[in-house]
């Protein structure tokens, strides 16, 4: 499994400065809550697929991740669809009523999660953890009197680094439990839940212990976030790719804005 690990190849997307990518990710995750038209998501998804193609990160990696999240999305939306009563009823059997409003809501919600997932994965695959945390420091530096910027960047850095580690751990423990004849394809919903608990508990315990060990290790090597503050930050270099990226972002925004207004 390969969740959110830096994928080291050369591509235009890799070359774009981490600051710009991070800013755009933040912007995008805010914007996405204002979009509620299905066809706009189709355009965005198409654009993201185009960017993925440019990044030379195999599609396989993205879909692997969707596969993990999809059951969760389906479960939550599946529950929602039965309980939302607003709108016109389009489907009716026994006591179940499904409305057009519910369908639309759930469709956009699913699109939202999937586009956001794809986009953040794209950023994670194409930006090394170091660059990303540097970017965070850089962007939040003006706020350093109000926010512990270095600590935030450090936490982000560690969190990102440990995603692949934990996903490996999850994989390994899943296998270990399988070899104890724990059947993860069990049809009975109760044993199914119980069986997954047998993986989640060890993973949680491991990650807490990891965090504990890491804190100790950092302390014993005299980590002090305040030391970093004295470091002079490198000036960001704005390369030509960044300029093109900015234009791209701008054009896409204008385009979608007009589409929404005229649609």
């Amino acid at each position: 499994m390969n969740v959110g690990k830096f994928y080291n190849v050369k591509s235009v997307i890799h070359d774009i400065s981490a600051e710009l990518k991070f800013l755009f990710l933040v912007l995008f995750s805010i914007e996405i809550f204002f979009i509620n038209k299905f066809w706009v998501y189709m355009i965005i998804l198409f654009l993201i697929l185009f960017l993925i193609k440019l990044s030379r990160v195999p599609f396989k990696l993205f879909f692997g991740n969707v596969k993990i999240v999809l059951p969760m999305i389906l479960l939550t939306s599946g529950l929602n669809i039965f309980f939302i009563r607003q709108g016109n009823v389009v489907l009716k059997f026994f006591f179940v009523r499904i409305t057009d409003y519910a369908l639309n809501l759930i469709l956009t919600m699913m699109c939202r999660i999937i586009t956001l997932l794809f986009f953040s994965l794209l950023i994670m695959f194409t930006t090394s953890v170091n660059k990303l945390s540097q970017a965070v420091i850089y962007i939040f530096m003006p706020l350093k009197n109000f926010l512990p910027v270095n600590e935030i960047a450090m936490i982000l850095n560690i969190a990102l680094r440990f995603i692949p580690v934990l996903s490996n751990e999850f994989d390994l423990i899943l296998k270990a439990q399988k070899s104890r004849q724990i059947d993860f394809d069990d049809k009975n919903i109760f044993s199914k839940v119980k069986n997954y608990v047998s993986v989640l508990i060890p993973v949680f315990i491991l990650s807490f212990r990891r965090a504990d060990d890491l804190a100790l290790a950092m302390e014993s090597r005299c980590y002090n976030p305040d030391n970093n503050k004295k470091k002079v930050l490198k000036k960001i270099k704005f390369e030509r790719v960044d300029f093109y990226a900015l234009i791209f972002i701008f054009v896409v925004h204008v385009l979608i804005f007009f589409l929404i207004i005229s649609g």
């Binding site: 994928y7 190849v9 990696l61 270990a176 104890r180 004849q181 608990v197 060890p202």
Partner: protein, 264 residues
């Protein structure tokens, strides 16, 4: 039959981080023996053992295994614990058994890994690393596997516990005709307990044969078990010791016999 034909395994196939962990493995493993699996870290040992119970599907090649119950105790098995008592933890694999039969079985394996009855109600999370490992091992043994695979079972255990577990498994093997595969870096463990040895290097099997033979091949650059070291020193001092003697008891017997002969 435990047979591997042209087995290769590639991690992350098709990606830039592709890694060939196993490369054209051909081997038929002897049954009802204790087999040692050795090789440097990264040579593919853990990958190899996961093929036995289909946790990994080979990238190419065929596997013929006519056994159903294959128990694999993972490296760092202490990380797999999830129940609130040792009893439930060990009994999880046989939770469908009637309670009387279950508890009998649990006590049996608890004894095999060298823990006593007082552990039954303990919280496994409060045990030491070595004890957790024992509990996890017991959780596999309780399934009565026909092939038992232990991936680095002795790392982090005190010498006495190491010996105890392995002795018990050896006895168990004799009783139930199990095939046991032990992955280990410890040549003393390998020489004392294994009938045969598989040697992996860079995903290829470069040796499969009797344990004593592997220590006589100089190009393998192995750390020798201390019985073998002693034998070699003795040979240098003109005290002949046959090269197939690697067990501690055999060595003692042989030397004692020789000394007796000289005295007479």
């Amino acid at each position: 039959m435990i047979k591997f034909e042209g087995i290769s395994y590639i991690y992350n196939q098709g990606l830039s981080c592709e890694k060939k962990a196993l490369d054209n493995i051909n081997i038929e493993i002897d049954e009802n023996k204790i087999i040692g699996l050795i090789g440097k870290s990264g040579s593919g040992k853990s990958t190899f053992v996961q093929l036995f119970n289909k946790l990994l599907k080979p990238t190419s090649g065929k596997i013929f295994i006519d056994k159903k119950k294959i128990g694999l105790v993972f490296q760092y098995a202490e990380n797999q614990i999830f129940e609130m008592t040792v009893e439930e933890e060990i009994g999880f694999g046989i939770r469908k058994y009637a309670s009387e039969k279950k508890i009998k079985k649990i006590l049996e394996v608890l004894d095999l890994v060298g823990l006593d009855k007082s552990y039954l109600k303990k919280n496994p999370f409060e045990l030491s690393g070595g004890e957790k490992r024992k509990v996890a091992t017991a959780g596999i043994l309780v399934l009565e596997p026909e092939i038992l695979i232990l991936d680095e079972p002795t790392v982090g255990l005190d010498l006495k516990s190491q010996k105890e577990i392995l002795e018990n498994i050896k006895n168990l093997k004799q009783k139930f005709n199990m095939t046991v595969i032990i992955v280990s870096h410890d040549m003393n463990v390998i020489s004392e307990f294994c009938d045969k040895v598989v040697f992996l290097r860079d995903g290829k099997i470069i040796f499969y044969g009797d344990t004593y033979k592997v220590f006589d091949l100089n190009d393998f650059d192995l750390e020798l078990p201390w019985t073998k070291k002693l034998a070699k020193k003795l040979v240098k001092k003109n005290f002949f010791v046959p090269e197939n003697i690697i067990l501690f008891n055999d060595l003692v017997e042989y030397i004692a016999k020789k000394i007796r002969e000289k005295e007479n």
